[in-house]
Symmetry: C2
Subunit: 357 residues, 2 copies
């Protein structure tokens, strides 16, 4: 059966000050009043019912996850005591799902992506899971690039393998790290490259088999957890084992060395909402390129993202700026430097103003 | 005797969002934890005790004034039901003071100025009031310009009249409207021009005599108020008369046509704190020209004024900007366009978000 694993472990300082330590990005109503996690959960549901949806999240946000998704069986919230990147996350989920369903195929979906055409997205997941159920292998979705983006990793497409109707499935040639601008332009011009969406499909058993081959220390840790799963000792073992797991992505830690990898190129509007300017693209911008949310006055502004979350924001005569305000903290940063939120958060930490984080 | 009249009638949208309708600029702790009104009151006190200090303010802020200055006799708060510029304000105060003290000399002081050398300021007021008591006439203090400022009106200095020790007193040649930059540069180069500080000294009786000569409608209104002053009808008459008074400044409405006007050039550090950038000059700026107040993180910023009033503000990589934040409203505007706060306030009013004003 097809299961969905939602990865909701991000700590989300990139959306400070709206995201906070105790309320990371995936719990925020950044777009339409629902949280990104809730949107992800509802998006997959016509294809996968709550009984087959699993969410991996941080221990500190497990309760928030249960409140956000009350339809989810309580034991489908898998709490990681510490983050250990996506190989551990995907392996942990595969271990839990497999105990429920030895034939499980998992669609692994980040909780913080925005996808505009939900039914096209579900058709792609359906096609991918049928393909994997039939032929095995690990599958990743690649988004056809529409601009020379330097903020994403890329996939290089391999030989075409088959026609899945609306989609074609290819062998995956390789993962490519985030390129510089010239390289990104070349990828766009050449074709043959896709944005690495971070969305995967595989059978739980096959993923665990690949982990055993390639990441024995992770396999061993997951084995220890599986041994106590469902007992009173489960949480204690997870707490003990998790910090010892290797910190590596599933892309580079598992798929790159796997025997059989696929990719399906997709073209639905997709964004990983990595930072405030990306949110600006999702909100409907006005003719001057201003994207606003909340009570905002923008006079003679251009290309600004302005968010008033529980407070009014008035800007006049500014451009290419991100302004995000909450009642307790305000961020002002040029749009081109929005990734510097990390430095801002570090500086606030240095000053001991942790209550604002 | 020397009395002090503090003009505290401003409505103060220029300091929105820290200033609000019910809390104009003069009530804000913009500089050192005390309000500008309180600072003005304490600054003059070594020279003039509270029993001879009067404050003219708006009806809506009379109670706030009494709370801010509990030492002040309650009937020394003179409430204007509507603002009618400084001629009406000065005349109203002169009328009230004169009933207490027919020989009163008044030092008339705006509540929203910042003056760094308070004892030098008091010596100037003392010299001015002695001079006026001796020779009559209306006196205005002029600040020696230190830059080609276009935001102030100017005074042209007339013939030197006498040496007052630390000071010299001149005839006042004329009031000059706010100049353009070229003209302001010429004033600075030529000498002979002073910034119009808006601080005055005159005998209450002489000011009222000049008002009778030059502004008969104002004189008549003040006469009606004086007729009921101290009775149960006083407030009702003020409410009735005030809206009918002419709206003109004491500079152009009274002094320009007066028989005898003086000016004393002074050189203490003075600012009328007209808008956020002026406040920036008063706060101690760092080497990059950033002036901050409150919990502020400024990374790689230049020439910014950042105020966090009850909220944290973090800015990174911005320059020549004013950012002012309170828990309920935030302003972001280029420093050079800080006067556009007025448009911002109007836009907020248009949208019906009056609770933020």
């Amino acid at each position: 059966m097809l299961h969905a694993v939602i990865m909701a472990g991000g700590s989300g300082t990139r959306f400070w000050p709206v995201s906070r330590r105790d309320r990371p990005k995936q719990f925020l109503s950044l777009v339409d009043g629902r949280s990104l996690l809730r949107i992800t959960f509802e998006r997959i549901q016509p294809l996968v019912p709550p009984e087959r949806i699993w969410v991996v999240t941080a221990g500190s946000t497990a309760e928030l996850t249960r409140r956000e998704l009350p339809e989810l069986p309580a034991d489908h919230v898998l709490a990681e005591p510490v983050g250990r990147d996506t190989a551990a996350c995907a392996g942990f989920a595969a271990m839990a799902v497999l105990r429920d369903d030895p034939e499980a195929v998992c669609a692994v979906l980040p909780a913080d992506h925005v996808i505009r055409d939900a039914s096209r997205f579900r058709r792609a997941v359906e096609a991918g899971s049928s393909h994997v159920a039939r032929e095995g292998g690990l599958l990743t979705f690649g988004v056809r690039p529409t601009r020379p983006e330097t903020g994403f990793g890329y996939l290089r497409i391999g030989a075409e393998h088959g026609d899945l109707g609306e989609w074609t499935v290819h062998r995956l040639a390789e993962f490519v790290e985030k390129p510089d601008l010239d390289t990104a332009r070349r990828y766009l011009a050449e074709g043959g490259y896709l944005w690495n969406s971070g969305m995967f499909v595989w059978s739980a058993a096959e993923l665990l088999a690949e982990i055993r081959l390639q990441l024995p220390r992770l396999a061993e840790g997951l084995q220890r957890i599986a041994g106590e799963w469902g007992t009173a000792r489960a949480a204690a073992v997870v707490d003990e084992v998790y910090p010892t797991l290797p910190r590596i992505s599933v892309d580079y830690g598992v798929m790159e060395g796997a025997q059989l990898c696929w990719t399906i190129p997709v073209a639905f509007p997709w964004s990983d909402v990595g930072a405030w300017p990306a949110l600006g693209e999702l909100l409907d911008a006005d003719a001057e390129g201003n994207a606003t949310r909340g009570r905002v006055v923008a006079l003679d502004c251009r290309d600004t993202v302005i968010v008033g979350d529980g407070t009014l924001v008035a800007a006049s005569g500014v451009h290419d700026l991100v302004v995000v305000a909450t009642p307790t903290a305000v961020l002002v940063v040029p749009a081109a430097e929005a990734q510097r939120v990390k430095d801002v958060v570090a500086a606030i930490e240095d000053r001991g103003w942790d209550d604002a984080l």
